[in-house]
């Protein structure tokens, strides 16, 4: 018998626990020729804001040891053009479509969520609260429990669709932040977004990114992501989606065992577009080999007692 790979994130039923992460998978169509995107558990769109955004000046990406920095700067077509140009392709896809939402004010999050909730073809939202909060001096919404509560509660009130809150790792303690998201009505939490990082070109003595700092992703951050996912699962009861440096089946399993109900693959898509497909196959294979009937049995199965005597 085939192992059951289905998992539930709030009311979203995923055929398997592997999603493509926001900003690394465009609006889905970019990868449609390369992989069977309906084979995915789901995917998260690039962040959508109320108005179109230009994004940052190039260079916008640079490779670092086992990772990369990006400073795309939320370039996107804005919610209306998204609905007109991108949503028709997404509509009716046999995979969960989650729209990532960003903003500079609470009102912007609310407005985008409200507007998108009027449309068909969307299975849920992921609030990207790593964005700078203009009314709070540019610190990210996700960096204090108060601002998290504010933006999540307000958005919660504006939609009936499942709400995933995506946390930033650039905080002193993830626990109160995760709790604030849960208490404000989030159906799930996803983490981590990128770590703030920087790289310098020694020859020109300039930052390698035009925006000086950017977001670090890829295998380099996997240990940080795992520690935060584990801590979050110790703190809240809503499902956790693990993100950060997942490139293969073993990486995904580390997150599931640590308590994530599902995972997202970001940078891995760039390395190998087939990355998600290989992980899905690999999870099935792992379950078979280890006689695990359903993958949800693996979730949170981390053994903490020390092994031997002494």
């Amino acid at each position: 018998m085939k192992p059951n790979l289905r998992v539930k994130i709030g009311s979203i039923e995923l055929k398997n626990p592997v999603l493509a992460a926001s900003g690394t998978f465009g609006y889905g169509d970019e990868y449609a020729d390369l992989i069977d995107i309906e084979g995915l558990g789901g995917f998260v769109t690039k962040a959508i804001t109320l108005l179109p955004r230009e994004g940052n000046a190039p260079p916008r990406t640079v490779e670092t040891p086992a990772g990369m920095l990006n400073s795309i700067g939320l370039e996107n077509v804005g919610v209306e053009a998204f609905i007109a140009e991108k949503l028709p392709f997404l509509h009716g896809l046999e995979t969960a479509v989650i729209v990532n939402i960003a903003g500079s004010t609470v009102e912007e999050y609310v407005e985008v969520t409200r507007r998108l909730s009027e449309c068909d073809g969307i299975d849920g939202f992921e609030l990207n609260i790593s964005c700078p909060n203009v009314s709070k001096g540019g610190l990210a919404f996700g960096s204090s429990p108060e601002t998290v509560s504010e933006v999540v509660s307000a958005t919660r009130a504006s939609t009936r669709l499942p709400l995933i809150v995506k946390l930033t790792p650039n905080v002193t303690d993830i626990a109160p932040i995760a709790r604030a998201a849960e208490d404000s009505g989030a159906d799930a939490i996803s983490l981590i977004n990128t770590l703030v990082g920087m790289a310098v070109d020694v020859q020109t003595r300039r930052p390698k990114l035009a925006s000086v700092t950017g977001g670090l992703s890829g295998p380099a951050i996997k240990p940080v992501a795992l520690a935060m996912v584990w801590k979050a699962t110790q703190t809240v009861r809503i499902p956790i989606i693990g993100i950060g440096g997942i490139l293969n089946t073993m990486d995904a399993l580390e997150f599931l065992i640590s308590g994530a109900s599902a995972v997202q693959v970001g940078t891995g898509n760039f390395v190998d577009p087939r990355c998600t497909m290989k992980i899905i196959d690999g999870l099935e294979h792992f379950c078979e080999e280890n006689h695990i009937a359903k993958i949800s049995d693996l979730v949170g199965s981390l053994q903490l007692s020390t092994g031997g005597a002494g």
Partner: protein
């Protein structure tokens, strides 16, 4: 349509100091590639390097199902690429990008350094060596201006002459041809040919492209530039490879890499 395929390395040889030519068996890509398109190559099997690296298609032979890339050693990725041996597999995405567009007009191609890679393919296509219907290049004139730091780095000159292109050379150190930047040679060439209609096609370092754009736009000569930018996905999804245009940023990978000189702000 972009596909992912593992190409077998058929050969991989140094052809000039620090410059390598690699042939790959890639039927799908070889049959569809157009000049100006590129492939996006995974060089390491693990994290070194992590991201793919883009290389222009230097030649494509549909019948033999082979493509070639011409690449320069600049860092770890290209270093590792140069170590690949015959028979090894290389994970490639391609063909990617719009490629050059051209009709039957005369053309001046301007190459700086490794910028020769997509232009050689373009010259070949223009001069009809690839199509059997008009083996003598349809009677058009193709002039190619090759710029390099010194004569040792002048590449593919004889091959271009054999194709029927007129080759002119500029070296920074004056060791061969015009002594100075290839853009000055372009200005001179445009001057000489001011009575004729033609288009300019250029690939090379950003400052060179900027100068080419300045020269051609001023004279209202149609000009296409093949751009480079750091690439993550290579398929249009990450928005990492932005180039500024009057109407906002565009993606070098799938909206380019070839842009009209008037279309971009360099």
């Amino acid at each position: 349509m972009i596909t992912q395929a593992v190409g077998r390395v058929l050969s991989n040889e140094q052809v000039a100091p620090g410059i390598f030519l690699m042939s790959l068996k890639l039927p799908w890509i070889a049959q569809r590639a157009k000049p100006g398109q590129f492939i996006h190559v995974r060089i390491g099997s693990q994290f070194r390097p992590l991201l793919r690296r883009p290389f222009s298609i230097y030649r494509a032979d549909a019948e033999r199902e082979e493509i070639q890339i011409l690449y320069q050693l600049v860092g770890e990725g290209t270093m590792r690429l140069s170590e690949k041996g015959e028979g090894e597999g290389l994970d490639c995405l391609g063909p990617i990008g719009n490629g050059f567009w051209f009709r039957r007009e005369d053309a001046v191609l301007v190459s700086g350094g490794i910028g020769i890679a997509p232009l050689f393919f373009l010259a070949e296509a223009m001069l009809g060596k690839m199509s059997s219907d008009d083996p003598r290049g349809r009677g058009r004139k193709v002039t190619i201006l090759i710029g390099a730091s010194s004569r040792d780095y002048l590449m593919r000159r004889k091959e271009l002459e054999l194709l029927g292109a007129e080759v002119r050379v500029a070296t920074d150190d004056g060791s061969e041809g015009y002594a100075g930047p290839v853009t000055e040679l372009l200005a001179a060439t445009l001057q000489e040919n001011s009575d004729r209609a033609f288009s300019v096609f250029a690939c090379g370092p950003r400052p060179m492209l900027k100068e080419v754009a300045r020269i051609t736009v001023r004279r209202r000569i149609p000009c296409q530039l093949s751009l480079e930018e750091h690439m993550a996905c290579g398929v249009g999804a990450c928005l990492g490879c932005a180039v500024r245009t009057p109407s906002g940023y565009r993606r070098v990978c799938v909206d380019g890499p070839v842009f009209d000189a008037e279309e971009v702000i360099l």
